[in-house]
Amino acid sequence: MTKFFKLLCLLILPASAWAQPIEMADTMRSEGKIYVVVAILLLIFVGLITYLILLDRKITKIEKKLPPDSNS
């Protein structure tokens, strides 16, 4: 009887653990992990744009060092 009970426990316990889906932060893993690709692309894009903005500011700084426009 005890043996049978132990066997029953072994069979049922894991099953009950699987019975209901456990909520986790699954957004990034759903739909074939497409969100991961979007995150990577966004990071690259933000990096490139930041670089472009810094370049823009650097050029502005140099422009301000030069004497103002005369006629050209």
């Binding site: 497409i34 690709v37 472009l52 823009d56």
Partner: protein
């Protein structure tokens, strides 16, 4: 370029990347998910046309009344346009490899785009071969008008007269049914505006660098 235009450009492109991958698209055979490449490949060409058109306008303005600034705009907009052209060609080759079967399919529009690239590269060959700055600017402005006039039939007329695998070509003008899909329009038009603005932004940065070097040159002469 105004700051709000730059912010608009960034916002539209972020929307393009997020929406372009996550929003619904039509389910079609062969193209499958690669239909999303429309949001990235086609705007390269729209952007290129926009930049080349700006360059053409400045070339005409230059011939009307020569000024260093007009020449600078004409050169740098061609320069940025060529970058978009090369990106359009290479992304098209990747796309064609998996949907048409080979990267270079000899499609009339593909060939036309490659010839247009060569024509515009010759613009820089011409500029590089003339020493005198005024002559360089004037001759290249004339050539630029010719280049634009040659590009339009190569990209928009010849592919429609023969059979092309690009949608909307080979007899049926306008957009094909799949890119007319209203769900795709929601991302496609913002994408076109966003990528075009990015091209304009980079071109203007290059114009400003050209102004700076010209100023430095003038300072040395004084």
């Amino acid at each position: 370029m105004k700051t709000w235009v730059k912010i608009l450009c960034i916002a539209l492109l972020v929307y393009t990347i997020v929406g372009g991958f996550l929003l619904e698209v039509p389910r079609l055979n062969i193209v499958n998910e690669s239909i999303r490449a429309l949001y990235f490949h086609v705007p390269m060409w729209f952007g290129m046309i926009a930049l080349f058109t700006v360059s053409l306008v400045y070339s005409i303005l230059y011939l009307n009344k020569p000024a260093f600034k007009r020449d600078a705009f004409a050169v740098e907009f061609v320069h940025a346009g060529i970058v978009l052209n090369i990106l359009g060609l290479t992304t098209g080759m990747i796309w064609a490899n998996y949907t048409w079967g080979s990267p270079w399919h000899g499609d009339p529009k593909q060939n036309g785009a490659a010839i247009a690239l060569l024509i515009y590269l010759a613009y820089f060959v011409l500029r590089g071969s003339i020493e005198n700055e005024d002559q360089k600017a004037r001759l290249s402005a004339v050539y630029n008008i010719f280049a634009y006039a040659a590009m339009i039939p190569l990209l928009f007329i010849i592919p429609r007269m023969t059979s092309s695998m690009h949608p909307g070509n080979g007899g049926n003008p306008g957009f094909n049914s799949y890119d007319l899909d209203s769900r795709m329009r929601l991302v496609f038009y913002p994408a076109v505006i966003g990528w075009t603005l990015l091209g304009v932004w980079i071109a203007i940065l290059r114009v400003r660098v050209r102004f700076i070097s010209e100023k430095l040159l003038n300072l040395e002469h004084d």
